[in-house]
């Protein structure tokens, strides 16, 4: 239902476009907001996911603008007592370099969020474009691309990401390249499969008969129809990217110290595990879980939305 409606909707929007670009932007925002409010009705899972992710984004942004907003600096040594469990003044304890763990938690999602969003954007763009081209062109190009993507896809993504980061050097940009590269085959496969399906439909045949160019068919008719699938995949991908980035930081390929980072803080906490300093690893880990969970819930919600049959399947019987 939703799928067949989409092109008509955008066509209608085109007709009412006012001349001023600013007004057009405003109209577009209003349309998106009202449409998404309608779409969000009854989607509890999706709403919870969006709230979690937004909360994390806001928290990280604020904490990075005002680093010592809870009274302690996340990166400053000797700011607090040494290796102390959670107390009233230090909610999540302190580490061996006398830093407050809570203040590090607040701003520690910086690298994860930036890398996850940029990497997924990168792989989404490259993967989908390659998928559209490959699915539409067919022939030997399609075969070679498919085989290559399948080969990369079959390889353990975590290992590939680690090796790539090791080649590129540690830091934010290398992580974006590495994680982004790893997810390209996912989008390639999703879009290619959708294109193959859409290509055979009668409305594409009709528009081709009218004389539309290939570019027009891809951009205006095939691409919008693959967006639903891409959105669901990208949310799950973001959840996975958060874990991958955390793992890379844990292995020491992330931000250089003393920058606060959840994965790196867990690695640091590992050294004090035998002395029972559980707070050093517990809290950063919980943050990673919640953020990843938030993206996972969004993915789950979008999948329910795109494919309503997935929900309440047995009610029909």
């Amino acid at each position: 239902m939703r799928r067949s409606k989409q092109p008509r909707n955008s066509e209608a929007a085109l007709d009412t476009t006012p001349r001023s670009p600013l007004a057009a932007l405003f109209l577009w925002v209003v349309q998106v907001v009202s449409r998404s409010r309608r779409a969000l009705q009854g989607q509890t899972i999706l709403k919870i996911g969006i709230v979690i992710v937004l909360a994390f984004v806001v928290m990280t942004v604020i904490a990075n603008i005002f680093p010592s907003m809870n009274g302690y600096d996340p990166a400053l040594y000797r700011d607090a007592p040494r290796l102390e469990g959670p107390t009233l003044s230090h909610w999540m304890g302190t580490d061996q370099l006398q830093r407050d763990v809570f203040s590090r938690i607040l701003s520690g999602g910086y690298a994860s969020l930036i890398v996850a969003f940029s990497a997924v954007a990168l792989s989404m763009t490259v993967g989908s474009v390659l998928g559209w081209i490959s699915g539409f062109a067919g022939g030997w190009l399609d075969r070679i691309l498919s085989l290559t993507m399948d080969a990369i896809y079959s390889f353990p993504s975590m290992i590939l990401a680690i090796v790539l980061v090791a080649m590129f050097g540690s830091g934010i940009m290398p992580m974006v390249w590495a994680v982004g590269f790893v997810y390209i085959p996912t989008y390639f496969r999703v879009t290619r499969a959708e294109v193959l399906q859409v290509r055979e439909t009668t409305y594409v045949e009709a528009i081709r008969a009218v004389g539309a160019s290939n570019t027009r068919i891809i951009l205006r008719h095939v691409a919008p129809n693959t967006i639903n699938a891409i959105m669901a995949v990208s949310s799950f991908n973001l959840a996975d990217a958060i874990l991958t980035v955390a793992a890379l930081s844990f292995l020491g390929f992330g931000l250089p110290p003393p920058a606060p980072d959840w994965g790196f803080d867990i690695q640091n906490g590992q050294k004090f595990l035998q002395s029972g300093a559980w707070w050093l690893i517990t809290f950063p880990g919980l943050m990673i879980i919640f953020l990843s969970l938030g993206f996972g819930l969004i993915g789950e919600g979008i999948s329910d939305l795109v494919n309503p049959r997935r929900k309440r399947k047995r009610k029909k019987i």
Binding site: A151, I152, S154, A239, I266, G285, L293, R312
Partner: protein, 339 residues
């Protein structure tokens, strides 16, 4: 049967170009990517041009790319993966001594995932849209969002440091490590062959936490798949027929639905194995498990280039073989597969 054999032959032939492409991608990533691998290897240290050049010659980087590619493929075919810069031993030999450790961990991890994932998925499907279903789905999504290394560390804090039930690291405890004679490299199997109860107990106590940690990584994936697949099957006409005939629900689920629900789960076994290998990197690192994944991480840290390349090639070949076996197995158990 001959059709199955023909399919196996075709599938074997298809593995070759697939593997060739994978090996080429590995080569391109490691050699032709921006950045000089030799200076990356010697990482940031202040090194004279002569030393750099000598490393370049030693690793064969002074030759043209195509010659390097030829040598690389030739080496793989001959089973020559080069020598580790760290230990001076052949990389392949080092990989083979560590391989059983990874496989042992992977098998037990898979077993854990099967038990938790499959059971919970089937349970959720048979109680769809009830409280159990929602609970299980939350469990699946949470295990999906769980950083493996963190879970391993939490297990260590709780079960090793606080309770002292299990050892923190390794495959076998202190004194036993010197006495124990490994035959196959698979320690559990070895202990059974030796009929050594004490060693078996020690080995199993080392294995419990890493296996559960690794297994949890797959539980979410497998649980969701099992649930979806089971829901699909329970919707089919022959299940309705069975119910209409008065077959007890228990038998409908266990005998009629379960077997067919297994088929799609087996198809993605190859993919799951890839996830398992990725998870092994973190699990082996956290638990100091002497497998190939932790070997790779240590090689990266030491910038031991031949060992890095050798490990990746080894894993690539292994994954291709697993996929091949899964496909063949699949064609044998599911007669509907088109040849």
């Amino acid at each position: 049967m001959s059709r199955v054999l023909r399919y196996i032959g075709q599938r074997l032939l298809l593995t070759i170009p697939m593997l060739l492409i994978l090996l080429t991608v590995v080569f391109l990533l490691l050699r032709v990517m921006p950045g000089d691998p030799v200076s990356a290897m010697l990482g940031g240290r202040n090194i004279s041009a002569e030393v750099l050049e000598s490393y370049r010659v030693r690793l064969g980087f002074d030759k043209p790319v195509f010659a390097q590619y030829g040598e690389y493929l030739g080496g793989i075919v001959r089973g020559d993966f080069g020598e580790s810069l760290r230990t001076g031993k052949p990389v392949l030999q080092e990989l083979f001594t560590r391989f059983p450790a990874t496989i042992e961990l992977a098998i037990w991890g898979m077993l854990v995932a099967m038990i938790f994932g499959f059971t919970s998925g089937v349970l959720a499907a048979t109680r769809a849209d009830k409280l159990t279903d929602h609970g299980v789905r939350v469990f699946h999504i949470t295990s999906f969002a769980m950083p493996l290394f963190w879970l391993g560390l939490m297990f260590q804090v709780f079960f090793c440091v606080k309770l002292g039930w299990f050892p923190v690291a390794g495959r076998i405890g202190g004194r036993l490590a010197f006495e124990f004679q490994s035959i196959t490299g698979f320690y559990v199997l070895d202990a059974i062959i030796h009929w050594d109860g004490r060693a078996l107990l020690d080995i199993l106590s080392h294995l419990v936490l890493p296996a559960i940690t690794l297994g949890i990584a797959l539980t979410g994936l497998q649980g969701r798949m099992s649930r979806a697949s089971m829901l699909e099957i329970l919707d089919q006409d022959y299940i309705t027929t069975a119910r209409a005939k008065g077959v007890p629900e228990r038998r409908v689920v266990l005998q009629h639905a379960l077997r067919n629900a297994l088929i799609p789960i087996i198809t993605v076994f190859g993919l799951q194995f890839a996830v398992l290998m990725g998870g092994a990197v973190l699990t082996e690192t956290v638990f100091s498990w002497p497998g190939i994944a932790s070997y790779l991480v240590r090689s990266i840290e030491a910038r031991d280039y031949p060992a890095i390349q050798g490990s990746i090639v080894f894993i690539a070949i292994f994954i291709s073989l697993v996929n091949l076996i899964v496909d063949i197995f699949y064609s044998v158990i599911d007669p509907r597969v088109r040849y």
